[in-house]
Amino acid sequence: MRGRRLGPWPFIAPALAYTALFFAIPFVVMAVVSLWTLSGTALDMTPGFGNYIRFFTTESFFKAIRNSLEVTALVTIVSVVLAYPMAWILAEKVPVRWQRMALILAILPFWTSYVVRSYAWLLVLAEKGVINSWLMGLGLLNEPVQMANTRFATVLGFAHFFVMLLTLTIYANLKQLSPNYRRAAADLGANGIQTFIHVILPLTLPGIMVGAFLTFVLAIGDYITPQILGGSNELLMPQLIMLQILRKPDFPMASALSIILMIVVSIAYLACARWLKLERA
């Protein structure tokens, strides 16, 4: 009886407590700190928007969010374009008894350390690395091209990781589709390409969107890949945040930058959620 009176709260409470402790409270603290300023070495706790104004009026700071959005958008598009065919092949072309093995092989790169993988890419892309040596050996290049320490390297490093993630989400979506959809389309006279464009692709779009959103969120907050592979030739938001705290602990500015990053992620989430809701309706 007592349990009935309490309703679902005993079940929800642990999740709520966890979210409050590890998200809501730290978030509020960060938001408050972002309104302070570091004056010399002392914290000025008078609330104000000085850090935000500095961000939007300093070109080199503002450029970081632009760089982050450009790189993340590129990573998301490249990852979706590469992951979809891979998931399709896994779900449709690989015999069922081999699919589990194929999935394990697909996610093998997840098993290596993220940092080690990034440094490995740096060596592969270097002027004396595997790719340049191979291209020059084949006579396709006369001199090595710069691939390491560029935006290209950052995007490649990210894509290597996120293609796996997207493959899994899209694969799960494809496997859930009833074969009857395809049969119905064929009955109505659609060929393979028409079935894919008008039936399969729209039905798997929610899976793509969820995977793309995860890619966007994880990539925009990542510090390691652009730091190792990008060669600091351009700063992304996480690098700019780190720059604020490495030598002088300017936590107010770092907090303001983190809040801005969170707002961008929230906008992306709202757009994704709205689209999914519209899709369902």
Binding site: F61, Y119, G231, S232, L246, R247, K248, D250, F251
Partner: protein
């Protein structure tokens, strides 16, 4: 069903094995501290995290040293702020930041009579930074230069004698810049004929322009690992801000890598070691500090696996080969021709960071 029956004993065996291992691990862990009667906690740079440096001290004294490696004084100050007084016993810190840390009351005065001050290279005593009101709050333990590292098989060593080559077109696309604004801004200032100790906001426009020129001819700006990797793999041939700390450790595998102080000089960096004022184990901490600045400790620290650099103790027991790699004999001239890191006020520091950020974004 059959397979389930088989699984049960296997699962039991697994559980028994896991419990056994856990118990063994627990008792082994319990036995560990018994061998080392005392423990101290040290907040250090990565070069201290080397068994070749720490184990001889623990063997000799029975004192176990727990290390926490950090990067950047800002990070160290945050870690200290998040800790309880007494959590830390020893601090290794950037030489120029000793006044900043001491002013916060974090460091305990050191007993001069128990330190080998007479054996330290005189410029490395750095009393302006380490001594306040007659009390010494830290002692230098290792030093080096932010200057030019280069591949002598790929560039003309004569060109490396003048700083202007770093922002000229001759080696365009073959230069990496070490991603730390203070030493590189210091180098640029020296290249422009300015003194690192006298820099003001008025000097920043010229420094900014030169930094942008340098960025224009460089291939990358990278942290320690990235820039070291770039010069080691031949991705670049010159590293601005490099020095013995980049090339000395690589010299065995790649003897073509070298470093030099150009005629304008180099930026002297140093790291210092001190004892926390709130430490409850000051005797053990002092023993560790004495070991680090002793001839044996100095040789081990200078050739640590993370990076090599010059020992401050003139009696460090380095081999002839190690001395050659570290350019031991050039030190008097190098020290005379080097300037300290810029030590800007907080306001100037923020301006310098803005200039640096602008350079990175170009």
């Amino acid at each position: 069903m059959k397979s389930n029956h088989r699984e049960v004993p296997a699962r039991r065996r697994l559980i028994a094995w896991a419990l056994g291992s856990t118990m063994f691990g627990f008792f082994a862990w319990q036995a560990g501290p018994a061998q080392a009667a005392e423990e101290i906690n040290a907040l250090v740079w990565c070069d201290h995290d080397d068994p070749n440096l720490i184990e001889p001290f623990t063997r000799e004294t029975g004192i176990k040293v727990n290390l926490k490696v950090y990067e950047g004084t800002g990070q160290a100050l945050s870690l200290i702020e998040q800790s309880q007084p007494g959590d830390w016993d020893v601090l290794v810190v950037d030489g120029i930041d000793v006044p900043r840390v001491a002013a916060q009351g974090l460091l305990d005065p050191l007993p001069d009579d128990k330190l080998p001050l007479a054996d330290i290279f005189p410029p490395l005593l750095m009393e302006a930074q380490t001594v306040k009101d007659g009390k010494r709050y830290a002692i230098s333990e290792k030093f080096g230069y932010n200057s030019i590292s280069y591949n002598k098989e790929k560039v003309d060593p004569a060109d490396m004698q003048a700083m202007a080559i770093l922002w000229g077109d001759k080696y365009k696309g073959r230069i990496a810049i070490y991603d730390y604004y203070l030493p590189v801004i210091g180098m640029v200032a020296m290249g422009l004929g300015k003194k690192t100790a006298d820099l003001t906001e008025a000097d920043l426009p010229a420094i900014r322009d030169t930094l942008l020129k340098m960025k224009g001819v460089s291939k990358l700006v990278g942290d320690v690992a990235t820039s070291q990797n770039a010069i080691a793999t031949g991705e670049v041939d010159i590293l601005v801000g490099g020095g013995e700390w980049v090339t000395a450790g690589l010299a065995k595998d790649n003897p073509a890598l070298d470093f030099v102080l150009p005629k304008e000089g180099g930026v002297l960096w140093s790291q210092a070691i001190g004892i926390f004022a709130a430490s409850q184990k000051k005797d053990a901490a002092l023993k560790f500090l004495q070991y680090i600045v002793s001839p044996e400790g100095q040789a081990r620290l200078a050739t640590s696996s993370c990076y090599w650099a010059m020992p401050v103790n003139t009696k460090a027991t380095l081999t002839d080969e190690q001395k050659k790699i570290l350019r031991w004999d050039d030190q008097p001239g190098y020290l005379a021709n080097s300037q300290l890191y810029p030590a800007p006020s907080a306001e100037l520091d923020a301006k310098m960071q803005e200039v640096w950020t602008e350079m990175l974004q170009k």
